[in-house]
């Protein structure tokens, strides 16, 4: 017993550890560990394993080891590789982490494979998905990933005069005498509203205009009311709006009511709140080459390019689009975040998906661009 | 007029006083179960000019004025300024805080019992950012010094009140007692 029991305990412990490592007891959901198996296999004998190794290392930011999984024929270097995955210029990608991925082969031969990977990013503005295709080649008995050349944006040195306007707000202290503050909130008006049912629930959407001569910080709230006059739910436009509206600027808004059917709704109470805020008319971001096209999966997508016409970097841009039918009624509002920074005088593509149910009705659209610049919020 | 020490009348008066105060307190204690602690408020808006008072505003003012007087009663009875946060602003708040601080210093406290307020809106600003109300209030005021009631009186008071809309309620900005006109 003196040695039998210890041996039994040691063996049992080791067996349990092995079981946990490869078996049913796999720990899931722990921060920093990839979904699925996080076990690294040094020798990638299949394209799937090679790609998984690469992406696990990207997740862990283990760049040196990741580079060993990259084929020497790749038209990239470590610096470009890191910048490609971690983003540059304070872009959304630079705030993001690769949380998980799913890959599927598109085409595999003995020496070459084409894989499509759906990458799940966690970002400050919510989860984002990205689809990338990878080419892998067999080098000896090991598969490696061939990475294409990464086009990092660069801007030539130049001087761009900024002459746009800025509104500053001087506010008195809390102890100001009653009535001495004589600045009203900006006058903002909802110019259209439409309520529809969607797969996720009821949606209230439309457009709002700043009718004033000063910038307004706008939030649109809606309350659904039932037949008895009681409030069913109240929600806000949240990030489906451009909150800072310059004079006469129009923004789409969308308010989602998950799991609510409009047939239970008798009335919708709209409430737009506007506050006077300091703001700048710079940067101006043009939305170029807007076009609705069908992608390979048959989905309707609005494509275009965002062109930063100013002299400062826009770190994160957010596109909000209102889609109109042939009666100029807003039939849908969609949005999307651009994960690359917009350098001065440079452009970046964007794409916003249109739901199948409304795609056929869409005749026209209006795009507004909301932006975040580091240190200027 | 001071009673003459040692006189039979003085003794009688003292005895009667003790008995009457004790009886009154006992009656109060007995009836405390039924004492209506809710502040009664009625509002008449038909004479408000130049803007008509909206029904939602009327409901809000009724609710917030009642709450304000409940808060005043709590603050001056318990000598704490905490209840004054919220229902009051500006001069009214400063004045009530001063009252509480002053009471804390002197050891006095006040009780407003069985409050009933008849409000009349006399002015409602064109932009709806201020309303003037006239309040005919009836209540019993008790003043205590270190827990001993030194004054107890049923009064009818007249107040001029200015209320302004706050973030989510109407707040009292001016509360001024005036002689009956």
């Amino acid at each position: 017993m003196k040695f039998t029991l210890p041996i039994i305990l040691v063996v049992a412990t080791a067996a349990l550890m092995v079981l946990a490592l490869f078996g049913a007891g796999q720990a899931h959901g722990t921060v920093g560990i990839a979904a699925g198996s996080a076990v690294y296999t040094p020798k990638a004998s299949t394209p799937e394993q090679a790609l998984k190794n690469l992406l696990v290392d990207v997740q862990r930011r283990n760049w040196d080891r990741a580079m060993t999984a990259v084929s020497k024929t790749s038209d990239t270097n470590k610096q470009m590789f890191i910048q490609d995955w971690t983003g540059t210029n304070g872009s959304l990608r630079s705030f993001s982490s690769l949380e998980g991925f799913e890959s599927r082969p598109l085409h595999i031969t003995n020496d070459e494979a084409q894989m499509r990977v759906r990458l799940h990013w966690t970002t400050p503005v919510g989860p984002l998905e990205d689809v990338r295709d990878f080419r892998l080649v067999r080098e000896g008995d090991v598969w490696k990933t061939v990475l294409p050349k990464v086009q990092l944006p660069s801007v030539p040195s130049q001087v761009i005069p900024v002459t746009y306007l800025r509104w500053d707000l001087v506010s008195g202290g809390a102890a100001d005498e009653w009535g001495s503050k004589n600045v009203d909130a900006p006058h903002v008006r909802i110019i259209s509203m439409n309520a529809v049912d969607s797969a996720e629930g009821a949606v209230v959407m439309g457009e709002v205009v700043n009718e004033d001569t000063v910038p307004a910080f706008v939030n649109v709230n809606a309350t659904l009311v039932d037949g008895a006059g009681s409030a069913i739910d109240d929600e806000t436009s949240f990030d489906k709006i451009d909150h800072v509206l310059l004079p006469k600027q129009v923004s789409p808004y969308r308010i989602d009511f998950p799991n609510i059917n409009l047939k239970n709704v008798k009335n919708v109470r709209m409430d737009v709140k506007a506050t006077l805020v300091p703001a700048s008319a710079d940067p101006v971001i043009g939305v170029m080459n807007q076009k609705i096209e069908s992608d390979v999966q048959g989905k309707s997508v609005l494509h275009g390019d965002l062109l930063n016409q100013s002299g400062q970097t826009v770190n994160i841009s957010h596109v909000v689009v209102s889609f109109y039918d042939n009666n100029a009624k807003v039939v849908w509002v969609a949005d999307g975040y651009e994960d690359h920074a917009l350098l001065p005088q440079s452009s970046a593509p964007f794409a916003v998906e249109i739901p199948k149910s409304v795609a056929s009705k869409v005749q026209n659209f209006h795009v507004v661009v909301n932006q975040y610049s580091l240190g200027r919020s | 007029m001071n009673p003459v020490p040692g006189s039979a009348i003085a003794h009688l008066r003292r005895a009667l006083r003790v008995v009457s105060v004790s009886a009154f307190i006992s009656c109060l204690a007995l009836s405390s179960y039924a004492a209506d602690s809710v502040v009664q408020v009625q509002l008449d808006t038909k004479n408000a000019t130049p803007r008509a008072v909206e029904s939602l505003t009327e409901r809000g003012i009724l609710r917030d004025y009642r709450f304000a007087w409940t808060s005043i009663a709590q603050a001056v009875e318990l000598n704490t300024a905490d209840p004054l946060e919220g229902p009051f602003a500006g001069e009214a708040k400063r004045l009530l805080r001063e009252t509480v601080v002053s009471q804390q210093r002197s050891g006095l406290s006040r009780q407003y019992v069985n409050q009933s307020h008849r409000l009349e809106a006399v002015f409602y600003a064109p932009e709806g950012d201020v309303i003037e109300l006239h309040d005919t209030a009836e209540y019993e005021i008790r003043i205590s010094d270190g827990g001993k009631i030194i004054h107890d009186e049923h009064v009818v008071m007249h107040f001029v009140v200015l209320m302004t809309p706050g973030a989510d309620r109407w707040v009292i900005r001016q509360l001024q007692a005036v002689p009956k006109s």
């Binding site: 080459n289 | 007029m1 002015f123 950012d129």
Partner: protein, 287 residues
Amino acid sequence: MRRPLLICAVLCLAACSIAGVAQDLRVPASVTAGEEATIPTTGSGKATFYLVGPGVSRKNDVSLGEEIHLQGQDLRNAGDYLALVCSDTCHTGTFYVIAAKPSSLTFLVHPSRVPVGQGDAISGVAFPFDQFKNLVLAPATVTFQLAVGDKPLFSRPVRAQNGVAWFRTASGKSAGLVQVIASLDDVTAKRAVQQVASEPCNLRITGQRIPIGVLVQTEPVHDCAGNVVPDGTIVTFSATEANGKSTVDAPIKQGIARAQMEASGTTVVSAASGVVMGNELRIGGKP
């Protein structure tokens, strides 16, 4: 339970009156805020004096037979005051402090910005207060004036009722800063209202082809009364061509909004500011 309480109260009050609990003090009929007052007492010996009023809860020893001096400091706040003198019994008296003469006006003016040419668009409300922030209820005449620079536009005396005076008027025809003044005797309060251009009127654009696309700009943007629309107002330019549409939200600068847009083929450009649409412009493709 209310009835027994009432009976008890009546009985007790009757008993109290026999016992002389609340005999009256001789207090002043009314006092102006901030002024001093005296309360005479009778008898002899020591007593406790209480003064209970808005913002005041005073307690101190007094000698009976001497006058009680009330400092102006204690009588700053308008309202009802209760004076009590207690020795063996308590003597009470109530009096009012009324507001002193006006020393300031609380003046609420709306709106702070108003489009030109709108009826009943500007309103103001004035409340007179004395130096202790008591609302002055005594009748008085408040004069409201509107002026642009030194040029008066409007003047109206208004009798204050219940401590409030108000006015309402239309906005003027020209954009610019309007002074709104309320005065009562030598007390004056000034506010400013910015009259701004109304909606853009007859929004017109011109454009030309440049190497990287098209350059479009508005003519100076005015409202229908000829006032220049303020800088910073957004004009949305849309350029539609066969390849798609481009839009730019451009702010007006020195009366004109301008934008560059990528377009190579024949392009139709339009402009809008808020809900006001401008003309359409057709620009030919690159030669």
